[in-house]
């Protein structure tokens, strides 16, 4: 907010006067002017988003193997097969959708709450604060291949160090972290939280630092204790950022692929093959582009419904804030 105000400030001065003068002089703006301004990005957007999206829709209506001379049109059959439990594509696909769901339902709340706590902690003044901030963010700079391989060996139930040290501590040391469910989910979700919590924490931290100190002072003057300050100042101040973090975390979770690809190979069986994993496998490895495109669109529909829901939740709350503000004004 403050940034836009600052950027806008100079305009009110000389620049605005100049602009006004220019406008009064001559500014017959053609109908294409806005399009010209949009053009550089619009071209990229059309070439790399709109056209492929439409082509993807077209492909999903065919039995499409790009290495074969013919791509027979099959209408909605690829979609119908996804909903026909006897077909080859349906069971693996819905198993993978379930995997994505299981992963998201556990990882999203954890990735919203834990980084928040970390950010609150990192927002305190204490010696070595910058060091700890760096430590929490550090795993995020590693690529998925690095963390995947690292944890695959650490978590291996026969040769890994995790079970070894659990055993030394007198805890059960025979959990098969990568070859049984639900242990594999605990491993995948745990590793993902460890890996990405730094990113969410940094965003939270920036938002925390954006909450004006005056609000806390005012709250203190009103006699609010720590908890009351948190509930009435910190949380409302974080609301817009919370919406943003929720959205990107859901997107990231729905896109989960690398962790299970490397750590569990989708196993045991297909249990931890996520939707994106299954789509990539079907389309790019098994050359069934039509089926893969249809799967992508089904996944898209689910994600659209989910995003509408998330938007609805956060808009509802914002309305409430406005209501409260209005109520306060009346008061």
């Amino acid at each position: 907010m403050t940034r836009t105000a600052q950027a806008g400030a100079p305009l009110t001065g000389r620049a605005l006067a100049d602009a006004k003068r220019r406008r009064t002089r001559k500014l017959a703006q053609g109908p294409f002017t806005p399009w010209l301004f949009l053009a550089p990005y619009l071209l990229l957007f059309i070439a790399f988003v709109v056209l492929p999206t439409l082509l993807g829709l077209w492909i999903s209506l065919h039995q499409w193997d790009y290495t074969l001379p013919r791509q027979p049109f099959v209408g909605l059959e690829n979609y119908a097969q996804l909903f026909d439990s006897d077909s080859l594509t349906s069971e693996p696909f819905w198993t993978s959708m379930r995997a994505t769901f299981i992963f998201s339902i556990f990882s999203v709340p954890l990735l919203l709450v834990i980084p928040f706590a970390v950010a609150l902690l990192m927002n305190q003044k204490f010696p070595g604060r910058n060091f700890f901030r760096a430590v929490y963010f550090a795993p995020y700079v590693l690529g998925v291949a690095v963390i995947g391989l690292l944890w695959r060996y650490l978590l291996d139930n026969n040769i890994g160090m995790v079970n070894y040290y659990l055993g030394r501590l007198g805890l059960p040391d025979d959990t098969a972290w990568t070859t049984t469910v639900p242990a594999a989910w605990v491993a995948l979700i745990g590793v993902t939280v460890w890996w990405t919590l730094g990113f969410n924490a940094v965003i939270y931290l920036a938002a925390l630092q954006d909450i004006p100190a005056e609000l806390y002072e005012a709250a203190k003057v009103d006699g609010a204790n720590g908890w009351q300050q948190f509930v009435n100042v910190t949380v409302p101040g974080m609301r817009p950022i919370l919406a943003f973090v929720t959205m990107i975390t859901i997107i990231a979770s729905a896109n989960m692929f690398g962790q299970s690809y490397i750590m569990t190979q989708g196993g045991p069986g297909r249990e931890t093959r996520t939707a994106i994993f299954q789509i990539a496998e079907t389309g790019l490895r098994n050359f069934k582009m039509g089926d893969a495109a249809a799967m992508s669109y089904v996944l898209t529909v689910f994600l659209i419904i989910l995003s509408i829901f998330v938007f609805w939740i956060f808009r509802e709350r914002r309305d409430k804030v406005v209501d409260n503000a209005a109520a306060r004004k009346d008061f």
Binding site: W64, I159, T179, T300
Partner: protein, 426 residues
């Protein structure tokens, strides 16, 4: 948020854009020599392991002997290789020459990724009697030859010689009884889990070997159905699981861990490909290799073969094609050097020339007639990874009974094969 899924669809779409392409016949007559202008050939392979440096050494030697041909090697892991090659060739960005596995030739030929090389085989005077029948025949798809075999490589039994000495085992086990006896002795000598049964790679290769040993076949000869759920298959998979139940193997052996454990001396015996020989030698582990024992009725072992191929070109350059053929011919003639990579040369004349004397793979090469190869069915790779490997993994992990896992996946495999037949238009 919707963008992510659509984004993937568009990745699919973009590779789909280039499409089609026309059937190209073998290029101009090959003379066996290349004396045209300087050419640079891009050469694709998947030798990422201990075999990689050897291949580069051979390539360098070839370039020394051929001033007008430069070879640009591009080495990608095999798994990605088979995904990338069709895309590259379809987009007109493929290599000029490459190497692929025998069991991929039919699929790639059906996908119009590679072109026939019958004339090359003729010029090289390669004929069936210099190869084992299965290697030679598997390179043929619809009456045309697509691959020039470089080597064969099979599973082998590696064992820790120190462990064997400590357990008082003098000879490598050769059948079910002696194998179990060895395992029991090893356990008695304090090696708690002497033979780990992997749920993923190379579990399915062990399964195929055992299935063949029992006299079964994974796929029907007329390519109409999957038969790996036969009695022989159930017996094979039950044996793999029994290793866990009887305590010779720990449960839940995850990917690669049996090999790492073997290298660390945590387990005494492992079955893996002979391409690991150099890696094990370098690790300093006291080990030896032997043919895998005949657990079933007759000796048999899964094997594969590296084959040279020529990819389809959207714009054929006769010079490049001829230079590529010179390269393949030279490689085939020098396949004896390739034995240094741990592989077994495919040509009998080369094998008999003494290049295998004293090598680790020597004793395994002697049993080349026991080697079994997957049949050349287009699309068989997908069938394997989506069905057979799933069944092996489920049963070894104890998630399903071998019979149940195999029959469920065999049913899927048969459906997949039907679908493949339809799409490859046979």
């Amino acid at each position: 948020m919707a963008v992510c899924a659509v984004g993937l669809a568009s990745a699919v779409a973009m590779t789909g854009c280039s499409g089609g392409g026309t059937q190209q016949d073998t290029a101009s007559e090959f003379t066996g020599e290349y004396d045209g202008p300087d050419v640079e050939l891009s050469y694709w392979n998947g030798f990422t392991g201990g075999d990689g440096p050897f291949m580069q050494q051979m390539v360098d030697q070839f370039m020394e002997e051929h001033d007008n041909i430069t070879i640009e090697s591009n080495t990608v892991e095999w798994g990605d290789y088979y995904q990338r090659l069709p895309a590259a060739v379809t987009a007109g960005e493929g290599p000029d020459v490459g190497v692929m596995h025998l069991d991929q030739l039919a699929t790639m030929a059906a996908r119009n990724v590679i072109v026939p090389v019958d004339d090359l085989a003729e010029t090289l005077k390669l004929s069936a009697d210099d190869f084992t029948e299965e290697v030679w025949d598997a390179g043929v798809y619809q009456d045309q030859r697509y691959g020039i075999p470089l080597d064969v490589h099979s599973l082998a039994m590696y064992y820790n010689t120190e462990h064997f000495a400590a357990a008082g085992i003098t000879d490598a086990p050769t059948d079910a009884a002696s194998f179990e006896e060895a395992l029991t002795k090893l356990q008695a000598a304090g090696f708690q889990t002497p033979f780990w049964s992997p749920a993923l790679w190379p579990g399915h290769l062990m399964f195929l070997s055992l299935l063949w040993q029992n006299g079964g076949q994974p796929y029907a000869e007329d390519e109409s159905e999957a038969t790996f759920n036969s009695e022989e298959g159930v017996e094979a998979l039950s044996w793999q699981r029994s290793l866990v139940d009887e305590g010779f193997s720990p449960a839940d052996v995850a990917i690669d861990s049996q090999y790492v454990a073997f290298k660390n001396g945590q387990t005494s015996i492992t079955w893996d490909g002979i391409w690991q020989i150099n890696d094990l030698t370098e690790s300093g582990l006291p080990f030896a290799a032997a043919p895998i024992p005949a657990i079933g009725n007759e000796p048999a072992v899964w094997a594969n073969s590296h084959n040279f191929y020529l990819p389809r070109q959207t714009q054929a350059d006769d010079n490049k094609v001829n230079a590529a053929k010179v390269f393949i011919a030279w490689m085939s003639e020098h396949s004896g050097d390739w034995a240094g990579s741990g592989m077994i040369p495919a040509r009998e004349s080369v094998r008999q020339s003494g290049v295998l004397d004293g090598t680790v793979q020597g004793p395994i090469a002697e049993r080349i007639d026991d080697m079994r190869f997957l049949p050349p069915i287009p699309g068989i790779g997908t069938v394997q990874s989506e069905t057979l490997e799933m069944a092996v993994s489920d049963a070894v992990l104890g998630r399903a009974e071998p019979e149940e896992a195999l029959s469920r996946q065999a049913e899927q495999a048969t459906k997949l094969m039907e679908e493949n037949r339809a799409s490859f238009g046979e």
